[in-house]
């Protein structure tokens, strides 16, 4: 499994993750599905989790419906979601796994002390376990802070 992350999309994810720190940010990923999954666009969404947003994120059903409609109206594909792990590694947690859905790429951004430290991507395999997707073109983790 490989994933290419367009520079513009990567920038939006990084900026969102650092702006919202120490809370968790989240958003949707859109693009094209070929041999390599291409993420062309990232769109920020409000973390609608009640309570501690520093350790949890949630996307409201209304925002999810809007995201599906956006894909249809703009002739693109909803291919996944991103979220940040403030002061934690960019590895899926048990909370991530518990609610993960098939097919989607889950991009995770580790933000340490307010700066982007790492970006990884994951997808459920046939055994419903996360498998890492190699991200092409992620040399630049320059934080905007």
């Amino acid at each position: 499994m490989k994933l290419q992350l367009a520079e513009a999309a990567q920038r939006i994810i990084q900026e969102h993750a650092t702006e919202i720190y120490p809370d968790e940010c989240c958003g949707f990923l859109y693009g094209e599905e070929n041999d390599v999954r291409l993420i062309q666009e990232a769109i920020q969404v409000i973390n609608s989790k009640d309570g501690d947003k520093r350790r949890r994120f949630e996307i409201s059903p209304e925002d999810y419906m809007r995201a599906e409609r956006y894909a249809l109206e703009n002739n693109t594909n909803l291919l996944g979601v991103y979220h940040s792990h403030p002061n934690h590694p960019a590895r899926p947690s048990e909370h991530d796994l518990k609610q993960a859905v098939p097919f989607f790429s889950y991009i995770i951004v580790s933000v340490m002390e307010g700066k982007v430290a790492d970006i990884t991507s994951w997808q459920l395999n046939e055994d419903s376990q996360f498998e890492e997707e190699k991200i092409l073109q992620t040399e630049n983790y320059t934080s905007n802070t």
Partner: protein
């Protein structure tokens, strides 16, 4: 009688169809009808006890069925049911 909108992550279980016409007079019957015609989607909608999974939200038009009659909410021809996966997680 209702049309069900399949979310992107579950479309591989419906032959990439984004919408499916179902039989039944309630939301629950519509989902059961969907699971009969596309058996692979069943485990993503229902748990082992046959209940709709906790992490699956259902909307009829723009309304959460929890604000209606839940899974027993009646549907008519032309009703649109959206299956919405819970998107959540954390560190």
């Amino acid at each position: 009688m209702a049309k069900v909108i399949i979310p992107t992550p579950l479309r591989k279980f419906t032959g990439n169809q984004a919408t499916i016409e179902t039989n039944g007079t309630t939301v629950l019957e519509s989902l059961q009808s969907l699971a009969e015609t596309h058996p692979e989607i069943k485990k993503h909608l229902f748990d082992d006890a046959g209940q709709v999974r906790k992490f699956v939200r259902l909307y009829l038009g723009d309304e959460d069925i929890k604000a209606l009659q839940n899974e027993q909410t009646p549907v008519q021809s032309g009703s649109v049911i959206s299956i919405i996966p819970a998107i959540a997680g954390g560190v």
